[in-house]
Symmetry: C2
Subunit: 241 residues, 2 copies
DNA sequence: CTCAAATGTTGATACAGATCAAAAAAACCT
DNA sequence: AGGTTTTTTTGATCTGTATCAACATTTGAG
């Protein structure tokens, strides 16, 4: 296959029109022309690798990003250098919205495994949004969704036991994989135990112990980073009890 | 003073044009005409009293609200009935943004003391925003700001000790009062110790003890709900240590 | 004004989860 | 492949904060 061939195939494959993720990041009835207008804004860079930054805390805010493949973690580093995980992002998820305020990225976004992205310059997107009401509405909804996600996280950190937090974490991921057409019962954790613990406000050791305990109880099966949920219902019970 | 007199004075007083809070909720250079267009959307209802709901979790999302006077708490009630405080709102603060997602209020907003509000129907605001780019931009920024606020909260809940959380809480309020032209050193807490504890992920007893300890250490002076910050710097040190 | 209910404070105790320590397992180099 | 580093697991101990209990204070209702 010649280089030009590959390029044209890529160009064909990569457009919002036929992107399987568009139901996640553009779940709105935009006309074909409108989708194409959005599509024209999208910059598709080379894939990034594990440990690479999409952006770092303090960077000038320019674009938002949509995960096309792979996964990403975002976290805040506070005054005394400690990190607080804010979230993990899967294909179709949007990253960087909080940056609008103050024109600076409020957190760092680091790639957990080789991943690719769509980059959308926010000022262009804004301009387009004021011409396409449905797009504007969609953007507001995406902001609102992010607020809900963080609200749910606050509930977890504020009230739940270590076991409940881990159970919630697994169920949340499970549901998110399911929405992407992947197995809700068996999946791979691209983030470290340390990251999971930090995200949930727990020490690494506690996180590890809970995984072990859930396995001993026959609720999940853990194989390193591969997780199998054996008893979805009991996991759910744990979270709500 | 006749009834009609009072009404007209109210009408005069209450407009975005001359509202002292507009720098908080509309901090953007909109033209006089544009501000008036926003103003036309604003519904100003009678004040609500302590314990009244602005909206309850699950209500259909219709409007966003700006606190004009008084204060408000917002919280999520989860499956097993426990509440998690999401935030406290002061004059100029916006409430209800998270509701855009799913068209339902994601949390309840309850009035902490007699308070008044501006209600802005969101669909009208959206329509106006697509005609006024600066307004659209401002709305995006307000969403972004809310995301930052919640991100900061996650850092607090995830990493800090009880003492650090209370110190942060006091400094945060202090700064917010200051931005409203009120004293940053002395203020009134309209929320209960229970609410503060819940917000910070602490038991009431712990919260109360920390207030006492901070007072014993000469850092603050507590008189029931009246707080005086004596040593702003030591408070700041606590948060960052 | 008086009593009941709600809110706040203080003390004693228990325990979940942090921290310390060390070994085991994986991942990463060159 | 072999050696180094990183990540994960497991065990022992410690501690901050929750919980339980009791009392004090404030608020609110009639």
């Amino acid at each position: 296959m010649t280089e030009s061939n590959r390029l044209s195939m890529d160009a064909l494959q990569i457009s919002c029109q036929n992107c399987s993720l568009s139901q996640l990041c553009l779940p709105v009835t935009l006309s074909v022309e409108d989708v194409n207008r959005v599509d024209e804004l999208v910059q598709r860079e080379k894939p990034l690798h594990k440990g690479d930054f999409i952006y770092a805390q303090g960077d000038v805010f320019k674009s938002i990003y949509i995960v096309k493949s792979g996964s990403v973690k975002s976290y805040i580093t506070d005054a005394d250098g400690r990190e607080q995980m804010l979230g993990f992002y899967l294909p179709g998820d949007l990253i960087g919205l909080a940056g609008v305020e103050g024109n600076r990225q409020r957190c760092s976004a680091k790639v957990l495994e080789t991943s690719s992205f769509c980059e959308v310059p926010f000022d262009s997107l804004e301009k387009l949004a004021s011409r396409i009401p449905a797009l504007q509405h969609q953007l507001f909804k995406l902001f609102g969704k992010q607020l809900c996600v963080e609200g749910e996280q606050l509930v977890q950190l504020g009230q739940k036991t270590a076991e409940q937090r881990v159970a919630w974490f697994l169920l949340d991921l499970s549901a998110r994989f399911a929405r992407r057409g992947l197995s809700s019962a068996e999946f791979y954790l691209s983030m470290s135990r340390h990251d999971i613990g930090n995200f949930l406000g727990l020490a690494v050791e506690t996180t590890s112990r809970i995984f072990t305990r859930l396995q001993q109880d026959g609720i999940i099966e853990v194989n390193r980073k591969q997780i199998k949920i054996l008893e979805h219902d009991r996991l759910k019970q744990l979270v709500e009890s």
